[in-house]
Symmetry: C2
Subunit: 450 residues, 2 copies
Amino acid sequence: MTRELHLNLFIHARGHHEAAWRHPAASPLPLTDIRYYQDLAQRAEAGLFDSIFLADQLALGDDVAHAPRTWLEPITVLAALAGATSRIGLIATASTTYTEPFNLARQFASLDHISGGRVGWNIVTSWLAAAAGNYGGERQLSHAERYARAEEFMQVVTALWDSWADDAVLDDRASGTYADPRGIRPINHQGAYYRVAGPLNLPRGPQGRPVLVQAGSSDTGRRFAARHAEAVFTAHQEKAAAREFYADLKALAAAEGRAPEQVLVLPGLSPVIGSTEAEAQRIARELNDLSDPEVGRKRLSGRFGGHDFSHLPLDRPLSPEDFPDPGTVEAARSRTEVILGLVRREGLTLRQLLHRLAGARGHYTMAGTPEQVAALIEDWFLAGAADGFNVMPAVLPGMLDTFVAEVVPILQRRGLFRREYAGRTLRAHYGLPRPPVRPAPAARPDLAAE
Amino acid sequence: MTRELHLNLFIHARGHHEAAWRHPAASPLPLTDIRYYQDLAQRAEAGLFDSIFLADQLALGDDVAHAPRTWLEPITVLAALAGATSRIGLIATASTTYTEPFNLARQFASLDHISGGRVGWNIVTSWLAAAAGNYGGERQLSHAERYARAEEFMQVVTALWDSWADDAVLDDRASGTYADPRGIRPINHQGAYYRVAGPLNLPRGPQGRPVLVQAGSSDTGRRFAARHAEAVFTAHQEKAAAREFYADLKALAAAEGRAPEQVLVLPGLSPVIGSTEAEAQRIARELNDLSDPEVGRKRLSGRFGGHDFSHLPLDRPLSPEDFPDPGTVEAARSRTEVILGLVRREGLTLRQLLHRLAGARGHYTMAGTPEQVAALIEDWFLAGAADGFNVMPAVLPGMLDTFVAEVVPILQRRGLFRREYAGRTLRAHYGLPRPPVRPAPAARPDLAAE
């Protein structure tokens, strides 16, 4: 079977460069205007992307004075995008730590019905410390505790999605039979964190379950992804590291008894595209010149558990001693390690590091021509570093339009990317099977004998 | 100022009669198909209704074998309806008992942005005992406890919606100033049930806050409505009872320091409409003949805390002794009292009672001509029994179409109902002011003096 390249559009602010919101190629619409998101999803659909993706954080950033830290709530946005598009997959982030599993299972099942089977859920455990304060917490749960809860959360929501047989609804008007109760069962979950009786109060969606997406790359995150994820968003600065991650994740998935090709690995790629390399470099410089070092310092501090970087001069080379031990950071650990790797390898100054992170927060950035971008995509794809990419245009919609108009046709000519949608669901685009209803746990013979 | 009549379309199953889903005038679409809801909202908008409304329950009914107990999740549906309509208000039910206040405040603020200011929230405390089992509960919270939580919940969500000044977002691309932090403040709520730091991570919506709707009619429910609700859905079997409720609620609102005209009272009205009275009666009989007494018994049992009605013969007149004491029912108390009132006044048999409840679950039902329906609406409106109606068509879309085509023009000719939308928000349709941001609690002088 030929491997197929997959492309996801990651919609973030007015583009992934920190200063994109101020750039002339950025959308004129407010970030609370649904037309902005609808327009981007339609442009990505015109480019035959597999999906669009919305990230999320459950607290306001403390740098909102100088950074565009507002966006609409992802689940409501997906429902609004479903009606504005017809084929593209729609992925929203939602938290296992701060949502009731019954509510989350139900809203995603509803989205799957509303979109005709185009929904994916990006599973997060919410690393942002400030989020805990919005949900009754005195303190943030530890990284390990969040993942332990998430593991049980997955059991609950999967059981809820499987609580209706695919053919349970009969809707037989003549006989007055609406559903076959033998196809609907309670889940009676009683665990360490959750007690949920079920069944869900909504029939199974067109995809059975939403496509499960994950982005945690710590050891715990990888093991979680290997067990549950069908697509993984990941951040790498080098092809070698991406290949290593790719091989590791596929091996972990196989060890869990899963088919490795059913866990797609999609590294982030944030391209600044110009007709010539010089033009691309010029746009990249424009963006860096528009960025605010104080916003960058605050974001870096947020990544490192609130560590204070305000005393560091902007133009002296950094050393690892300027950073706290990543083992002490109860946040998005894998991303902090990517940043430390950059510092160690390249001897950047703080200003240079902030420019690098301003590009796409630690994801791979490049400035180049459409040919160069397509070459990188082909290279990583063929080298076993990626099943496709999480495309993070530096400026939206500007760099997305260039990508669709100039990079996609190259990928199509090389036989790497679709020329039309073959299927109608996100599972079809990603080449993933529709999961059958998992059988109920077998009755315990010791109880049955009573 | 002339009083204006308000009309809301209550979308439920394939119509409010229990057997509507089987009737030939009902929609052919599945109840999980978003087009069904979009089509109804568009028909109501064509009829210049103020709003549509979606009820909700957080557990599957136990009579799903013979009753259409499935629907999409209301918040996701509203987002999808926003794009399919442009003027009509959109009201969804959500629970204060089983939702995190930060999530609820955020999703409704997001919906208000997405719809351009057309959203309302029907506040419920979730009386259904089975819901507790889906949210970790060993037992259902008592009626009093649910309302105590709801009271604090309202403080939290109101403070979150008011945590951004209307002009806090500057989005000044030239200077790089995104927001004015002086207009954004934490809420630091610490109460008996909730601790929420805030601010919300989303700017204030076009309406400031969603329109607040409520439907609890118990004493506690009325006091809650008098404090918070801007529109109240209510169920009455007689004009006299409706007038009494209307006067009581307006007086309670005044006692809370609110303008009585800013609490709209909208009784339920479930009309079966025919060109002649005989035709209307015929359709009503068809519907009753399609209904299933066993479904009716189960629903009645659900209303009375699980009380068993299976031993009662269908055709002997009921007495109040056939029912449990409503004071012992921890459910939707006011509705149980309406039912007992019917039994006492009219000496119904169980079969007759089930037919009456099959119509619209205790709401006012009538079978008549468009003239008769319009006359009742005018009578109740002018008599101070209603500010408008929660229209609950017996069959959807059949009876809605008849209402729009034949009842609305009569109301317009009598100068009672709009001939075009004057405003663009639900607040504008309902004649409600846009709430200003409530000032933060004053600093305590004893602390300031330290």
